[in-house]
Symmetry: C2
Subunit: 338 residues, 2 copies
């Protein structure tokens, strides 16, 4: 049980001063009052008055995404968000979400009812009820990988797809590839559209032909790869850029089944740098999003939205992690080809 | 002259506790120590030890831009930056810059020599020596309206041109305009390229033809307007989107000279919402960038770069300020046309 004396000892001030801080006395500075309260909360001391006060609360809503275990895509995003938010003394609540739950309460009503000052939405689909409602929400809201037009209360955070894809095309062309395919995710997602645009723009800037027969759309799951792989190879692909790591893992596993050697017969690049990218054999070359930083940047954007700064989008730079799934194609390797 | 007693009174603690804080004693908490020091600095108290310490410093470099008077484009950007930075106890120095000065010291050497932890550059041209050097700088740096590829130490902040131009095209099409011209700025600027792309994309989404005869490039100064206005009107323009307010002011003044009535014979839209947009007659409809918010967002991006979060770009939403320079064209107005 924490006492006033414990707080006084911790701060190196008199217990009477701590009392003043906790009881909102006038002969103590606002700054010291804040410090006494912060320390009391941190040490778990609760006054009657504090029990009545509600802390400032933010909510993270998670849908279609694993987040509970280290290594899950959402885990580090949430961790980074919480680490940054706690310094400003926000309470952060995590709420798993489904389309059905969204039908129960409109977004704004849910937020007001639960006394949330701002929301961070990850993993939502474009056709979710709440995403539609965000066009006119008055609640400061940050969306991961989704963009809402013309509402100054909503910001989009994510990774700069253009720069990520360009790093990968750069790497593959330096290895001699020209027939670079794109195995993309679901066509109804903004990220999918961005990644296609990035692919087209990067191929063009590398003076490579954009061949629509080398572009396929599936879903962001491993199983999706096997339907498209044979066609892409038949159409001449020597390298495949995948919309995410799960698709790339699907390609690697299907190649194993079909006895296609990676990277000698096919180079594969993922997107996300999930733990599986390192564990699979051959280890996956992939475009890395730092998910702790994504979380920190999401909190920062929400902080500024709450302060009425109309952040539209805030994107991070990705990096390319080169592992064993990319290399020179054997047809280009003259020593083996002779 | 500020004394230890003054600080003690302000904080509501004993002078002996203030002394402990100022002298880095061990029997006082780090939090209270920080509060004592912050308050001492704020009140102007300087200890011998503090004299030796250098405060954390950021630098704002300004080129090609007025910033000293309220109303100048750079004034509010710098003000917003300083307001946000001071809360984290940064010292902010303003340095006017020229290409010649940039030849004297490379950017990184200048920053290290002057003990700056980060830089914010506004108004620089793409061919400036320092802009070239930013491709490989190790100093956290934020650029206003300029983008450097692939360096995680540099972030781009600005306004979402796409959304701004789209608001203007929306407004003009609702007034009945279809022949909407673009009078853009210097072709060697990234903002110019963005604004053309935004114009093309918005015209397309409004199902309007993109007629290259209705697109002109000048410079971001008033004088540039008169060379292009007659051609744009001859080619059928009933409305002109201008790359900034100065170009729009040039169009309005040239129309006055040529007895072209605004908005009956020509609608004009600016970009920036400078004070002159309100003062000129007719008052200018324009796309507004909130410059205080641009400054705050620039500081926030620099803060995160210094914390090693690789912000790539962070953009704000603009708004459209409708004034008297836009309206229905008389040829579309059936009551006048009969």
């Amino acid at each position: 049980m924490i006492t006033i004396k414990d707080i006084a000892n911790r701060l190196g001030i008199a217990p009477s001063t701590v009392s003043k801080g906790l009881n909102d006395a006038n002969d103590i500075s606002p700054e010291l009052k804040k410090l006494v309260l912060d320390t009391a909360i941190e040490m778990g001391y609760v006054t009657k008055r504090m029990k009545k006060e509600t802390r400032k609360r933010l909510c993270i809503f998670v849908e279609n995404m694993q987040y509970e275990m280290p290594g899950d895509f959402g885990f580090d995003i949430i961790l980074g968000f919480k680490q940054a938010a706690v310094r400003d003394n926000w309470e952060v609540i995590i709420v798993p979400m489904t389309p059905l739950l969204q039908l129960h309460d409109p977004y704004d009503r849910y937020m007001v009812k639960n006394n949330f000052h701002g929301g961070f939405l990850i993993g939502f689909a474009l056709k979710d009820p709440w995403i539609t409602q965000l066009a006119s929400t008055t609640i400061p809201t940050v969306l991961f990988d989704n963009y809402i037009r013309k509402n100054p209360n909503v910001a989009y955070v994510g990774t700069d797809s253009f720069e990520g894809i360009d790093l990968a095309v750069d790497h593959l062309t330096k290895l001699g590839h020209t027939k670079i395919a794109l195995l993309n995710g679901s066509p109804d997602s903004m990220v999918t559209v961005n990644r296609y645009d990035a692919y087209a723009s990067s191929m063009q800037s590398h003076e490579l032909e954009i061949d629509e027969k080398l572009v396929a759309y599936g879903h962001y799951v491993e199983d999706s790869a096997k339907y498209h792989l044979p066609t892409l190879i038949k159409n001449g692909a020597t390298a495949i850029l995948c919309g995410n790591d799960l698709l790339a893992v699907g390609v690697i596993r299907e190649c194993e089944r079909l006895h296609i050697r990676i990277p000698q017969e096919l180079s594969v690049v993922g997107f996300d740098n999930l733990p599986i990218a390192e564990e699979i054999s051959p280890a996956l070359t992939t475009i890395s999003q730092n998910r702790i930083d994504l979380g920190r940047n999401s909190y920062a954007s929400l902080y500024w939205l709450i302060a009425k700064v109309p952040i539209s989008r805030s994107l991070l730079r990705p990096s390319l992690i080169v592992r064993s799934s990319t290399g020179t194609h054997m047809a280009m390797d003259k020593t083996k080809n002779g």
